[in-house]
């Protein structure tokens, strides 16, 4: 397995963990009927999910880069 692939897979794992954590917190915020539930959703859950998406998109950039180098 290439070194870059290991890096991509690590990024995918990190993205998955962040998305799962964020979505788990989103479910808690939906079940919890309290003004703080919005704070939990907006500042913690949504941030984790957003970060997870960014890490996933970063892994796509890494996945494309080595292929480009091979073609060149």
């Amino acid at each position: 397995m290439k070194l870059s692939q290991i890096g991509i897979q690590r990024l995918l794992r990190i993205a998955s963990v962040l998305v799962i954590l964020g979505l788990g917190l989103e479910i808690i915020s939906l079940l919890w009927f309290h003004p703080l539930s919005f704070v939990l959703f907006a500042f913690v859950a949504a941030s984790l999910i957003g970060l997870g998406i960014l890490v996933y998109l970063a892994s796509l950039v890494f996945a494309v880069s080595p292929l480009g180098e091979n073609r060149g």
Partner: protein, 202 residues
């Protein structure tokens, strides 16, 4: 609506868990598409859906009164005296009872709900970080536009000689509906425990 969102969240968690356990699956073309859906499209939709659900939920009166500082304001909706404007509106369904707070306190503009949410966040900050004001006041005061949103154009409001004589001062907010000696009995939250209450169905 919340059920659909929860199903979407669960599906997204399952897909993310698959890529957590087997990230090597993404070497295949079909799994690349599944990963894009599971780690990008669905989570983004979950954020949008969650925001929408939270915004709708915060319009409910029981959401407002779930905050300790608002308990007495919620109770004041059950005051058994028609001179209290919020109680009169709530008990006679002049506002939707489940959205009673929102109906009279929202900013009826394009970005009104967003502004209200930001105001709500500052109140949460005051409650948990700094000190909440006592008594609770509305920044900038209660605007007539919130009354006129429903009453303007209504026959009994427009044909009332007192209202028609001062219509321009009311619409320009120079004279307040609730603090000019006309309709000045609002929540009276500090006295609510000593006043007679109405219980539905009595």
């Amino acid at each position: 609506m919340v059920g659909i969102l929860v199903c979407q969240i669960v599906l997204s968690i399952i897909l993310a868990a698959i890529f957590l356990v087997r990230p090597s699956l993404t070497t295949g073309r079909a799994w690349k598409i599944v990963a894009f859906i599971g780690l990008c499209v669905l989570p983004a939709l979950c954020i949008v859906g969650g925001m929408n659900t939270h915004m709708q939920r915060s319009e409910q009166a029981k959401f407002c009164t779930s905050c300790h500082a608002m308990e007495n304001y919620g109770k004041s909706l059950y005051l058994n005296d028609p001179k209290y404007i919020p109680a009169q509106h709530f008990q006679n369904h002049r506002v939707p009872p489940d959205m009673a707070c929102y109906a009279c306190h929202t900013d009826y503009t394009i970005y009104g709900p967003l502004k209200d949410k930001l105001k709500g966040l500052t109140r949460i900050y005051m409650q948990y970080v700094s000190t909440p004001p006592n008594p609770i006041t509305i920044p900038g005061g209660f605007k007539n536009a919130q009354c006129l949103h429903c009453h303007a154009g209504a026959r009994d409001f427009e044909e009332n000689p007192v209202h028609s004589a001062m219509m321009s001062t009311l619409t320009s907010n120079q004279l307040s509906c609730i603090s000019s000696g006309c309709h000045d009995s609002a929540h009276d939250a500090s006295q609510v425990d000593h006043l007679k209450m109405w219980s539905p169905g009595q």
